[in-house]
């Protein structure tokens, strides 16, 4: 398959991948990815398991650096700067590109501290009252305030899975990133919690650019503005098959493969 350089939306871009190739050791996990993401939009990344969605997502805040055997080739432009340049500190990148993981991973600290810690280490200058307000607002924005307001000083681990995930979202937005990367944020949750997270993501769109990996076609169709479909090539490397407005991808996919995937005939 040839590489497709998509530009479905036009307008300002939050982040852009150019000729991205990511290797685990000698195994190329994804190849030749060219992608641009529009500001303040939700983009869903879909595709069969193992096709490299998480790998691509993690490339946008250099999380793959944590895997010693991984290697990234190509360019990721963020504010016109390649974040893989030697003079870029990954901490700077992650400060501005937040992440929500597939499995909720709150710190084994109090709920309050889970939210406040990120702000504190990132130089939040407010006083105690400001911090309290930030924590409350973040928890409200993450739609978990009502669940936790009476037990802010209990351990974050004492919450249910869905509450924990919303706490992690609150933690991510408390530091005011520009981009939020979400890797299957609702995969471990029941349908009700999933719906709440989806609503929440819609709300967050106002202020953030969101990239979300999901296996749930309904979710992708309901909640996203754009959809990127990845597939695995014969060499097991993932590549971008189709990228466009969600409506277009779901109603009239350009690629046969996309159609088969979204109708559940393969994957």
């Amino acid at each position: 398959m040839t590489t497709l350089a998509h530009d479905p939306s036009g307008g300002p871009f939050a982040i852009e991948a150019q000729a991205l190739n990511i290797y685990y050791g000698s195994f190329r996990a994804v190849k030749d990815i060219n992608l641009r993401f529009s500001t303040h939009k939700i983009t869903a990344l879909i595709g069969p398991s193992g096709c490299g969605k998480s790998t691509v997502l993690r490339a946008f805040n250099r999380m793959n650096d944590l895997i010693p055997i991984s290697r990234t080739e190509g360019t990721v432009l963020f504010h016109g700067k390649n974040i893989y340049d030697a003079d870029v500190d990954p901490v700077q990148v992650r400060r501005r590109v937040g992440m929500v993981f597939q499995k909720p991973n709150p710190f084994p600290k109090t709920i309050y501290e889970n939210v406040a810690w990120g702000a504190r280490i990132n130089g939040f200058k407010g006083n105690k009252a400001d911090m309290d307000a930030l924590v409350e607002e973040s928890l409200r924005d993450a739609a978990v305030w009502d669940d936790v307001k009476d037990k802010l000083f209990q351990s974050g681990l004492s919450l249910s899975g869905g509450q924990q995930q919303r706490l992690c979202i609150a933690r991510a937005i408390a530091t005011r990133p520009e981009l939020i990367l979400m890797d299957e944020p609702a995969s471990a949750l029941d349908p009700i919690s999933t719906l709440r997270i989806e609503e929440l993501i819609q709300d967050l769109k106002k202020n953030y650019t969101i990239l979300i990996v999901t296996h749930n076609m309904q979710q992708a169709a309901r909640a996203s503005d754009y959809t990127a479909f990845f597939n695995m090539d014969t060499d097991r490397a993932g590549y971008l098959v189709e990228y466009g407005q969600t409506d277009q991808v779901f109603t009239s996919p350009k690629s046969e493969m996309t159609e088969q995937y979204i109708t559940g005939r393969f994957g």
Partner: protein
């Protein structure tokens, strides 16, 4: 967007044939039941095996503990040159006799009675019999509200009561049947005679039992009364003036019933009575107190083993003139003042007149004085005596040469000399081999007490018995000990005492303690942990979080650390000896800081030992900290880094707090290991004999396990016993330190939880 039809195919049915094929490979229903039961049996077998292993461990550990406890308590036959209690009693006797206005000090109670009767300000101590004879002129003070009456004496509530005893020896009794007969006759008639004389006989059954026992040993019929007419020969009786009237009356009756021989009775006091007895010039002693170990020793020199019977009780009366209207009852403290410190009555009780107290006393040698001092000043030890008195006791009981040598070692007073002279001492200090006394501060009371205990009291445990035998064979052991060590005091002894904890090392096991060793252990372990902990945890963090495991060099380091954990500790000792004691001597001796101990000035210090132990525990701490860090889920690191935290913030705020439990467990294991470590410390130079406490990292030192090791290698049995006690101390110390570490761990773990 989704108007396309949903998939309509039904999922393929599993191929029936294939399902059957695999199902057939499993046992039948019955077989399944048998197979599950078999697996359960195996599981049960393992459970039993584990239970057995646990029980074995528990049994072994408790046996170990019991055997240590068995060693640390038990009966001992302890021989002293002079018992501490006697030194103390002598001091107080001299205080009493040296008080102001001692108008009379006599053996004779009658003279004392007469003296008090004639003096309105008189007070004195005398036996009850004489007091009773002078009832009108005297009045007895009650003590702590208890007056001396037949009842209070018999029940033992009147505190100043002493036993009245007759002493002889088995040899005399068998050589001189007339003496044996007289003794038996006395027991048979004591109740009657003493009651008639207004004295206090012993309990009737006790008298009868003693008579029966004595008759049996003599081969006489216990039921038959003695017939004095059947005996002849002389009987010489000497001793207490208190018992004298009773003995006289019994002798009168003995003669009256036809005894043919002569009975010679002298009232010379208990002390003189024992002296005569042990010098073989008396057959029987009237005693108003039990024989002392010193007197027993004197008797033993003449092959006499004393044997006693108790005939009665005697209250010592504190008597004042009958005209005395103010004094009626006194307590112990007031008694002490009345007979020692006070000059006027008003000094004892505020309302009493300001007239001088006139004292009428028995002599040092009398039983009356003994019982008074033992009751009023009983329970006091050398440590309660003033420093000056201790100096005098020491001087009086050692040779002049020994005293001078001790004074040269460390002076008694800063401004005067006790045994040496100013000129001689100055001359000695100017010589090349100036003694330590020239520079040291004068002794303190503690060291003087220790000196007296070692030089004057000189306790030697002749034999010791373990706890189990001491409990189950008590009587046999007592008899054995009386036979083998007639002059020794046989008593139950705990080797683990407060004194044992607070005394320094000594070459006399009876006086040795573990203070120096405990302090040494604490210092060394503290330095070991304080150095080993940060270095070890730091290394673990580096190896886990920073080092690239794919690099061969880092893997090589990791392998080496794992291997180092298994290196015998003595190797670390050798390393410590070379590096810390020798090469880094200027630092470890404190020389470069100018704070070293001038008397040692080498690298065999606490610092060297602590650093050696730090090396020893490094691998353990590193490995356990690495494991703990590995166990922190990587999702936590990702969460932290994803928020824009730096690597260090992630480590410090998330990795370390979540790993601290495991890290501390490693530290606890490491501490347990080094607190019991001996070999490397011996190599690094733990002192074999040291009595001065460590004062800092540059001091010489010894540690508990080193001390235990040295004690167990001594031939004397007593060192083995104190080694057992020291092992208990070591275990308790370990327990305390571990409990503290666990407390810290839990507290910290809770805070981050």
């Amino acid at each position: 967007m989704s108007d396309r039809p949903l998939p309509t195919e039904t999922p393929p049915e599993p191929a029936a044939e294939q399902g059957d094929r695999f199902a057939a490979l499993y046992p039948s229903e019955e077989g399944i039941r048998a197979q599950v039961a078999r697996r359960q049996r195996v599981a049960t077998g393992w459970r039993v095996a584990f239970l057995a292993a646990t029980s074995l461990a528990v049994v072994i550990l408790s046996t170990l503990l019991l055997s240590i406890i068995n060693q640390s308590f038990g009966l001992v036959a302890e021989q002293t040159d002079i018992p501490e209690a006697q030194l103390v009693a002598d001091h107080y006797k001299s205080q009493v006799l040296g008080a102001t206005n001692v108008l009379l000090a006599t053996e004779d109670d009658a003279d004392i009675a007469a003296g008090i009767a004639a003096d309105a300000n008189g007070i004195g101590l005398l036996g009850y019999a004489v007091y009773a004879d002078n009832g009108a002129a005297l009045q007895a003070l009650s003590v702590d509200g208890v007056a001396p009456t037949a009842e209070t004496v018999a029940t033992g509530t009147y505190p100043l009561t002493r036993p009245l005893l007759l002493y002889s020896s088995a040899a005399i009794l068998s050589d001189k049947p007339q003496v044996a007969a007289f003794l038996l006759y006395t027991l048979q008639h004591a109740e009657e005679v003493m009651s008639e004389l207004g004295a206090f006989p012993a309990d009737a059954t006790a008298l009868a039992e003693q008579a029966a026992a004595l008759a049996t040993t003599l081969g006489l019929d216990p039921a038959a009364p003695i017939d004095p007419a059947a005996y002849e020969g002389d009987i010489v009786i000497s001793g207490s003036s208190t018992l004298n009237p009773v003995t006289r009356e019994i002798a009168r009756r003995f003669r009256g019933e036809g005894f043919q021989g002569a009975i010679k009775i002298s009232s010379v006091g208990t002390v003189a009575g024992f002296e005569a007895f042990c010098a073989e010039s008396a057959d029987l002693v009237d005693a108003s107190r039990p024989i002392t170990t010193v007197e027993t020793a004197a008797c033993a020199a003449n092959n006499l083993t004393p044997l006693s019977v108790q005939v009665g009780l005697d209250p010592v009366v504190v008597a004042v003139n009958s005209a005395n209207t103010f004094a009626a009852d006194v307590n112990g403290e007031q008694l002490a003042a009345l007979f020692t410190t006070a000059t006027n009555w008003s000094e004892v009780v505020a309302g009493w007149p300001a007239d001088a107290i006139h004292r009428f006393l028995p002599t040092t040698d009398s039983g009356t004085m003994d019982v008074f001092v033992n009751t009023v000043f009983g329970g006091r030890t050398l440590a309660d005596l003033p420093y000056d008195a201790l100096v005098q006791i020491f001087k009086a009981n050692v040779t002049a040469g020994r005293c001078r040598a001790i004074e040269a070692e460390q002076r008694f007073y800063a401004d005067s000399f006790v045994c040496d002279t100013e000129e001689a001492f100055t001359a000695r200090c100017q010589s090349d081999a100036a003694p330590t006394g020239c520079v040291l501060e004068p002794r303190d009371k503690g060291s003087l007490v220790a000196l007296i205990q070692a030089d004057v009291v000189n306790p030697v445990v002749q034999q010791a018995w373990f706890l189990a035998e001491s409990l189950f064979r008590r009587e046999e052991i007592m008899a054995e000990a009386r036979q083998a060590y007639p002059t020794a005091d046989v008593h139950f002894r705990r080797w683990l005492t407060l004194d044992f904890l607070t005394r320094p090392q000594s070459s006399q096991p009876e006086l040795a303690g573990v203070r120096t060793a405990i302090l040494g252990s604490l210092w060394v372990v503290a330095i070991g942990i304080l150095v080993g902990f940060p270095v070890g945890v730091g290394a673990a963090i580096y190896l886990e979080e920073y080092a690239d495991k794919r690099r061969r060099f880092n893997r090589f380091i990791q392998t080496n650390i794992n291997n180092l954990a298994g290196v015998p500790s003595i190797i670390y000792g050798l390393l410590g000896l070379t590096v810390f004691v020798r090469v880094l001597e200027p630092i470890t001796s404190g020389a470069v800081f100018g704070v070293g101990d001038a008397t040692t000035a080498n690298g065999r210090t606490i610092l060297s030992a602590g650093l050696t132990l730090a090396l020893l525990i490094l691998p353990v701490i590193i490995i356990s900290a690495q494991e703990a860090i590995k166990a922190v889920p990587s999702s936590l690191r990702e969460a932290s880094l994803g928020l824009g935290a730096t690597k260090w913030q992630t480590i410090w705020n998330h990795v370390v707090p979540n790993a601290i439990g495991g890290i501390m467990t490693g530290v606890i294991l490491a501490m347990s290991r080094i607190i019991g470590e001996t070999a490397p410390l011996v190599v690094v130079g733990a002192s074999t004999f040291i009595t001065t406490d460590p004062t800092g990292p540059f001091s010489k030192f010894t540690t508990l396990p080193t001390q235990i090791f040295q004690w167990t290698s001594r031939p004397q049995q007593t060192f083995l016993l104190i080694a057992g006690a020291a092992i208990i101390v070591l275990l308790v110390l370990l327990f305390i330190l571990n409990a503290f570490a666990i407390y810290l761990r839990n507290r910290y773990a809770r805070r981050i939880g």
